[in-house]
């Protein structure tokens, strides 16, 4: 059953990419990418997950001594945190771009901004 | 010491040339049912022209043209031995071998062309372009033949080539290397300024080509050359292909016969245009030459 999370993640990525590569509206593209990013994050944590273990926080429930046997891999969680923030940063930046482009051209259709080519 | 003998050779050849050309003229006329010129006509012309006291010049090169021309003839004659085996009539052949003779032919041509060109007469220029164009094609088979002969006898010295042909007619290149001789004779036709290859001087079309502007003593000088040069040239052929000449009578005979070849062809055939003659040489003469070179 562990692979469900991962599979979901992958599917989210593919869905996101499909949306991003077929929609013309820039906002939709951005949204699609954040869907894909979510998928990525899901995959990340899924890799860290181990059946029957608990969060890597030491307290009464999980004494230091048998932490090794009780907790799941903490690293992916740390990575995911970073990944989320970076994804957010890029998304925000793209939104800004979208806004400026709209200001510039009055449209959000990506196929309309092709004044640079060849 | 050689110089007096050389001068003697020169004297003999010039007179012989004058008479022979006149004779051939006469023969040609007779073939054409005309009476033709008296045998001494050339002398008359020459003396008259040398004697003319009015003459004009177009400039230095124009003046030097005939000199070049005649020097070319004289030089050619004197750079090859006229009589095989005679020390006296070996002339200046010590100065250089066959190649010298071959290339010295152009000395006169070039100088003449320059002189004629300075006259500024379009006919001269046209005549020269024709002459040079035709020459490039006509010389080719000859060069090949010479190469073949040189390869055959493994030498470039005329004397040695002649020596190699002694001892009977069958030792002549004519028989030992007929292909080469055939090619050479074809090119010989091209270089004798007779029909069908005389479009350079071409009466009617352009009045007498390069020499158009020449007259009086200039002309006389060139006439001298016209008497001298063919003989000189034939001497080369004779030495290369027909066993040379051991004595003056033999010399006279051979030269006359070889000259007659072009005369015969001349009276029989009509005139070629330049491009036609070029094609003719390339198509008929050159392959023979190539064969000669390859088969040697």
């Amino acid at each position: 059953m562990d692979w469900i999370a991962m599979a979901t993640g992958f599917i989210l990525i593919l869905m996101g990419l499909y949306g991003a590569l077929t929609n013309r509206n820039i906002l939709r593209i951005i949204v699609s990418f954040s869907v894909a990013n979510t998928g990525v994050n899901l995959v990340l944590v899924a890799v860290g997950y181990m059946r029957g273990r608990t969060a890597p926080i030491l307290d009464e429930a999980v004494p230091m001594t048998d932490a090794v046997t009780r907790i799941i891999d903490p690293l992916p969680q740390a990575l995911v945190l970073t990944a989320i923030v970076i994804g957010l940063g890029v998304t925000a930046l793209m939104l800004t771009y979208a806004y400026k482009l709209y200001e510039e051209k009055g449209t959000l259709d990506i196929s309309k901004c092709r004044d640079l080519k060849w | 010491m050689r110089i007096p003998w050389a001068l003697l050779t020169l004297f003999i050849v010039i007179n012989y040339g004058l008479l022979m050309t006149a004779l051939v003229q006469k023969i040609g006329a007779r073939v054409g049912r005309r009476h033709g010129i008296p045998i001494w006509q050339n002398y008359i012309d020459m003396i008259k022209n040398y004697a003319l006291r009015t003459s004009i010049t177009h400039g230095v090169m124009f003046y030097l043209g005939p000199v070049f021309r005649l020097s070319g003839g004289v030089g050619l004659l004197l750079f090859v031995p006229s009589i095989y085996g005679s020390e006296m009539f070996a002339n200046f052949s010590f100065a250089g071998d066959l190649i010298l003779a071959l290339y010295f032919v152009f000395f006169g041509t070039l100088g003449m062309a320059l002189g004629a060109a300075e006259s500024g007469h379009p006919y001269s220029a046209i005549g020269i372009t024709r002459g040079l164009s035709q020459m490039t094609a006509a010389e080719l088979p000859f060069a090949l033949a010479v190469f073949a002969v040189a390869l055959q006898y493994q030498t470039l010295s005329v004397t040695e080539i002649v020596a190699a042909q002694q001892g009977g007619v069958l030792h002549w290149t004519l028989f030992t290397n007929p292909l080469a001789v055939a090619a050479a004779m074809m090119s010989f036709l091209g270089s004798m300024m007779r029909p069908p290859f005389d479009v350079v001087l071409a009466p009617q079309e352009i009045p007498i080509g390069p020499p158009t502007e020449y007259h009086s003593s200039f002309l006389a000088m060139m006439q001298t050359n016209r008497a001298l040069f063919p003989v000189a040239k034939i001497v080369v052929y004779m030495n290369l292909f027909f066993g040379g000449a051991g004595s003056w009578p033999e010399f006279f005979l051979k030269v006359f016969l070889i000259y007659m070849v072009s005369a015969f062809v001349g009276v029989v055939f009509p005139r070629f245009r330049v491009e036609q003659s070029i094609r003719w040489f390339l198509i008929w003469a050159v392959p023979l030459g190539i064969l000669a070179v390859v088969l040697v």
């Binding site: 562990d2 692979w3 991962m6 599979a7 992958f10 990525i13 593919l14 990419l17 499909y18 590569l21 077929t22 890799v47 997950y49 181990m50 059946r51 969060a55 890597p56 926080i57 030491l58 307290d59 230091m64 932490a67 090794v68 046997t69 907790i71 891999d73 903490p74 690293l75 969680q77 740390a78 990575l79 945190l81 970073t82 989320i84 923030v85 970076i86 957010l88 940063g89 890029v90 925000a92 930046l93 939104l95 800004t96 806004y99 400026k100 | -």
Partner: protein
């Protein structure tokens, strides 16, 4: 149409790669080298109860620094782009007034939200959560205020100073680690203290608090900048 089909085919290929990964994936039975090390050493080395926090703040502190920088960068760029050539025209359309409920609710909630945010990032080394989560919560307060009054202005100056100062402190603490402890961003500048208490795990809580402040500030500045596009 052709484009969609092409995309579909390509994604099929990518899907194949992913499927390959998925099928080749076997969950590991016990912790691998790195994770084991964290599990065993975090507590006594750094004295942090929340291993993830220890990793985020210390072991991979450089990542976090970069992460914070990403936010800072984004905020800066957004500020730069949107500040450029902004026309301060009066608003054409009349915004609908926010409902009574929203206004009062926000008055009630904002302080609580802020409190929660602070709690979350101050206790980041003990409990789930930390600087980023806390900062996000703090920013959500700002968001709430903006929802109630879209024309509300926050002091850019204050935000700027806050993000700058907290950023500088972050780096400063990192350098302190380089000077006084094992290396850049080593949290052992201060003693580890009693395990599991608030003042433990060296400078970890302090750093995380600054991260919290910074993140909150960045988010707020992004929000306000994007919000201000409303009026033009």
């Amino acid at each position: 149409m052709i484009r969609r089909f092409a995309v579909f085919l390509l994604l099929l290929g990518l899907g194949a790669i992913f499927a390959d990964l998925l099928l080749g994936y076997t969950p590991s039975e016990e912790l691998n080298l790195t994770a084991r090390y964290y599990a065993e050493h975090t507590a006594q080395d750094l004295g942090a109860a929340n291993i993830v926090t220890a990793i985020v703040v210390t072991y991979r502190g450089l990542d976090t620094l970069g992460e914070v920088t990403v936010l800072f960068l984004t905020a800066t760029i957004i500020g730069m782009v949107l500040a450029r050539g902004r026309k301060h025209r009066a608003l054409q359309r009349q915004l609908p007034a926010a409902g009574e409920l929203l206004t009062t609710g926000s008055r009630l909630l904002v302080p609580l939200i802020l409190l929660l945010g602070v709690y979350v990032f101050v206790n980041g080394h003990l409990t789930p959560g930390g600087g980023f989560q806390g900062g996000a919560i703090v920013a959500s307060a700002a968001l709430l205020l903006l929802l109630t009054d879209p024309l509300k202005r926050f002091s850019h100056r204050l935000i700027a100073v806050m993000e700058a100062v907290s950023g500088l402190f972050f780096i400063g603490l990192g350098v302190l680690g380089l000077v006084y402890a094992g290396g850049f961003l080593d949290s052992r500048v201060l003693p580890n203290g009693a395990f599991g208490t608030l003042f433990s795990a060296g400078v970890m809580p302090i750093i995380y608090s600054f991260i919290g402040l910074k993140v909150g500030a960045e988010f707020t500045s992004m929000l306000t900048h994007l919000a201000e596009t409303e009026q033009s």
